[in-house]
């Protein structure tokens, strides 16, 4: 081992024993520091996971959705709008979709009912999301009874349990046939929930949307990018709320850390004086104190991040879930897909470890350049 490296090792060794000499104070600092990193990292990890989940869902969604508006409210769209729209250049495929929500009083949750494009289940069969199966306690071949819009009981045999990449989509989903859907919700033939268009060239989306508004003035085209942006804005906004709630705690930590780091106690001053009297150079003292700051902040960062990782990906962010998620009821099983984003870690690192380490340097330098005799007196 080279001598420079050995020197750093001895300094680190001294730092650790010096930290151990004041266990209460340093453990307290470590605890508060870890807590702050934990909270910040939890929010960042969870919102990012939610956001990537939304992106994953929308990847499969059509480029343009056309909704009919009546008095500013979303209404069923007649099938002849497909004809009225005609062939718009750039649109590869257009079709009507049938989907809706259903509140199940038995489990007090909303289901999403949808007619799939292909492989529709038979008239008295449904395919259900894994979460519905778990909450209603049914398996393949069992019967589920639901009450329709006009209060008729419908019995369905479960012919399949959906298993999608993303729990958020499939959790509350029920797939059924078109005829059953229309019967269940009393939607007459010739009406759809909305129309969807497939467009190959993303550059052409805006032009197509403009044409749609002219051709079908009582509709609203919704672009996939807009939906994505909206989700993004919602998640950023929620993240912002949590950060504001945490601002007090962060501020308290900053004051605490600043006080601990910058204002040297008389005892510490004395220690520096003794070290200098023993022949330590100013640079050595600064190095030693740098190691002290680095050890505390790195340890806190590592602990905080690990705890946050476990919190988000093993307990589904149990602490923040209500604020950060919360736009539907039936997501008890939502487990974000674990990921590690180096950029995110770097951001967090720069905002926590870096300021603390820097804040410790200047006062120590000031103490270290004063005459040992003066300090010890």
């Amino acid at each position: 081992m080279s001598s420079a490296l050995r020197k750093q090792r001895y300094l680190l060794d001294y730092t650790l024993s010096s930290l151990a000499r004041r266990p209460g104070k340093n453990l307290g600092l470590l605890l508060v520091y870890t807590l702050i990193v934990f909270m910040l990292a939890s929010v960042m990890l969870f919102t990012h996971a939610l956001r990537s989940e939304a992106v994953a869902i929308l990847q499969e969604s059509p480029e343009i959705i056309v909704q009919r508006l009546v008095a500013g409210r979303h209404d069923l769209i007649p099938a002849h709008y497909l004809r009225k729209m005609g062939h718009i250049r750039g649109v590869l495929e257009r079709k009507g979709r049938l989907w809706g929500y259903f509140f199940d009083p038995a489990v007090k949750a909303n289901y999403t009912l949808m007619v799939p494009d292909e492989a529709q289940p038979a008239a008295d069969e449904i395919e259900i999301g894994a979460t519905i199966a778990a909450t209603r306690g049914v398996g393949l071949g069992d019967i589920i009874s639901l009450r329709s819009a006009d209060n008729r009981p419908f019995s369905f045999r479960v012919s399949g349990i959906l298993d999608a990449d993303s729990q958020l989509v499939s959790a509350d989903l029920i797939l059924l046939s078109e005829a059953t859907f229309r019967d269940f919700f009393a939607i007459p033939e010739g009406l759809y929930t909305d129309l969807v268009l497939r467009v190959r060239n993303p550059r052409e989306l805006r032009t197509i949307a403009e044409k749609l508004i002219l051709l079908l003035p009582d509709t609203r085209p919704i672009l996939r990018d807009e939906v994505l942006r909206t989700y993004d804005a919602i998640f950023s906004w929620r993240q912002g709320i949590v950060f504001v709630l945490m601002a007090g705690a962060v501020l308290a930590f900053v004051i605490f850390a600043w006080d601990k780091a910058s204002g040297l106690s008389g005892e510490e001053r004395k220690e520096i004086g003794v070290l200098k009297a023993l022949g330590w150079e100013t640079a050595d003292v600064i190095r030693m104190k740098f190691w002290e700051g680095a050890v505390v902040s790195l340890l806190a960062f590592l602990l905080g991040y690990l705890l946050a990782y476990a919190h988000v990906f093993y307990t589904s962010a149990a602490l923040f879930e209500p604020v950060l998620k919360g736009w539907a009821v039936l997501y008890p099983e939502f487990a974000p897909i674990p990921y590690i984003d180096l950029l995110q870690i770097a951001t967090l690192f720069i905002f926590t470890v870096f300021p603390y380490t820097v804040a410790t340097i200047i006062p120590i330098w000031r103490a270290a350049i004063t005459d040992p005799d003066l300090v010890m007196r």
């Binding site: 250049r89 750039g90 590869l92 190959r200 060239n201 993303p202 550059r203 052409e204 032009t207």
Partner: protein, 161 residues
């Protein structure tokens, strides 16, 4: 009914009212445009391809660079001969399919910019080209043979005449 449809299609085809789809080798992640040096696979909406008789192909990130290349083969592809070109394909704007460049319609001066700025936007049929011209405020429609040697360079300067 079916026969009538086939007949009409064949007729349209023979009249070259729309260009047939084309299958050519695709660029891989490392393919660069011989003219501008940019990676081609990053711009799937703009790919143009020139294939030679021996099967190897050059890819471009837009029809403009493809024309520059064709107009000055000795400069951009030394050792290649225009007589050995088997097929030329361009990516048509609305459906993003590869079509025969010689049958495509090109709109210049539109508000749609490619990776290399102003472009010759390839379209599959005259109807497509006219609607594109209207929608995107294009300057004019050209066939393959009508593209002048000076045009690609003029496009770089924002001149469409």
């Amino acid at each position: 009914m079916r026969n009538a449809l086939t007949y009409t299609l064949t007729l349209l085809w023979s009249l070259q009212l729309f260009a047939a789809p084309l299958t050519l080798p695709e660029p891989d992640a490392g393919s660069t445009c011989p003219v501008c040096g940019m990676f081609v696979a990053k711009y799937p909406e703009w790919i143009a391809t020139v294939q030679y008789r021996d099967g190897h192909a050059h890819h471009f990130d837009g029809a403009k660079d493809m024309f520059k290349y064709l107009f000055d083969l000795p400069r951009w592809a030394p050792g290649h001969n225009a007589a050995n070109i088997r097929a030329i394909g361009v990516t048509e704007y609305y459906g993003l399919t590869l079509i025969d460049a010689r049958e495509a319609y090109y709109v210049v001066g539109s508000d749609v910019l490619g990776p290399m700025g102003h472009e010759l936007i390839p379209l599959a049929s005259e109807g497509d080209a006219q609607e594109f011209l209207r929608d995107h405020r294009g300057a004019r429609i050209l066939r393959f043979d009508e593209v002048q040697h000076a045009l690609p360079v003029k496009l770089d300067e924002g001149v469409f005449e």
